[in-house]
Symmetry: C2
Subunit: 336 residues, 2 copies
Amino acid sequence: MEVDEVVCLPRLSRVAVCGGTHGNELSGVYLVRELLKVKKEVMEEEEEEEPLSVLMVLSNPRAVQQCRRYVDTDLNRCFTHATLNGPTSGDVPYELIRSRELNATLGPKGSSAAVDLVCDLHNTTANMGLCFIAYSDCDWICLHIFRHLQRKMPDIPMRYIHFEVSNKESYSLDSVGKHGFAMEIGPQPHSVVRSNIYTAMKDGVQHMLDWVCFFNSGTIFEGECVDVFTMIKHIDYPRDSETHNITAAIHPQLQDRDFCLLHPDDPLFQTFSGETLRYKGTEPLYPFFINECAYYEKGIALSLARKRRVMIPAIRVQTEQERQAAAQESEEEEEE
Amino acid sequence: MEVDEVVCLPRLSRVAVCGGTHGNELSGVYLVRELLKVKKEVMEEEEEEEPLSVLMVLSNPRAVQQCRRYVDTDLNRCFTHATLNGPTSGDVPYELIRSRELNATLGPKGSSAAVDLVCDLHNTTANMGLCFIAYSDCDWICLHIFRHLQRKMPDIPMRYIHFEVSNKESYSLDSVGKHGFAMEIGPQPHSVVRSNIYTAMKDGVQHMLDWVCFFNSGTIFEGECVDVFTMIKHIDYPRDSETHNITAAIHPQLQDRDFCLLHPDDPLFQTFSGETLRYKGTEPLYPFFINECAYYEKGIALSLARKRRVMIPAIRVQTEQERQAAAQESEEEEEE
């Protein structure tokens, strides 16, 4: 790729904004409800089709109803190819049924019928600001949207997190779209809605949709650099070998310091009797999801990431001519 | 009462420290577990009886197991005389059974067999610091303990909240003791443990137990003044009349400002469409429990209190002679 080359990418015609994938992460729940209400009002007033199709989805309505993360199993781990396409028998968990419904509506995952972009809304109890979480560090669409939000919302700490997982193994709802990311905002206790976090999410979604409109209408987005945090490993709490109960909490000097470099021998945990346990790794890494409520049961006290700078190229939408050429090329490839 | 009079009160022989009354308020859960472990170790080493009997109680073990506030119904609303003594039939909620077990162990409520002091440990998502919550504004024991903690822990914001409810109607676990209060600490998301909050609770409980030992050994505590916040009313979220869903969150200018005077016309809520709703009351009052997670279902967005200064007298423990005289007097009263 030459430095000045502009990468041409297909138009983003269908975008899904999903909330309530975890039923007790309330910013997304209330934002999706609000956007549905506004959309209905706009539709009723204008009665004309929108140039961009935006689907607003309440992903796990039963969990939302009960204000719990999930009813039977974590919905946001159900979108692997294996789980979506495997056999079912006996008592099928509600979330497994729901994941297939969502895959039918927004996917099928990996197919040309899938929506172009999925933005799945999440909250965390960790002090993470606004994060994009994606499976790719070379999805130029997601990365450019991220940069757009960074510029438009300078007061909100913002990071791009990369989970290095293949498309087949990717497990979350956003993996169903052609492009996708989770928009994770915190700190907010689960089952609580805080105005500042709600507003940040509302603004983030609006800027994302604006960007998609700019992109579709032919704007050229210049190439630039983005800091990407690639997840390296998780660290669990110290636990009692018999009861499996945790025996320590995140150290007060680490609590709320997501994305502040953790050095070897830095305090990591404080046991309930008052002892300090230190980070035994040899490489300084960036901690995140520090003390996330929902991860106690998953055995994760925090995650650690390596930071690196990624060059993203200039991009613009394909012209109609380019689209037809690309379609023909792809047809020919299939014939071969 | 003359200014210099010292009020003599019975010795506090049995104290209960309860955690996990709400199963997802984790500071108390882990603190009670830790104290039980330490106590066991001490007992094993020393094999002698403690001068003060301290009962450590995990109040709702099933809810703790499931890391939920409660299993069937809120345990901490089950301790009215009516609920403890009423008939039961059919499917009895687990917490109702458990409340009677606890009443048998720590009470019976209102009887001379009840423990002398119950300290029930709680967490809140509200930014309340450390609060005592009690049904009395003239329980000199609770008020003196509160002043002791204020002096010993100057870095922790500390308030005394008074719920004006008769002993018969009082509903919470701490009402089972002869004296009792809830120690409420926040902000902490439910189902999460934060070191700073855990440590504040641990220190608070230790200072309380120290005070009880000082008191029992004859220390005179001087009379002084305490600010008491008496609960006046609750305010619910604005809600959709059909769905009953909330339509607004606590206003960002009010969030986290517990115990900062709320004036008429101050911002109260921000609707999900961005509108500001204001406080329509005519009297400036002190807000607390602002955006407490567990109160969404109870229809409480915040509570309001009036502050006043209470004079508490000097107190000391009764001498053995005074105790016998008091016992005889009470016997004679019963005979009349």
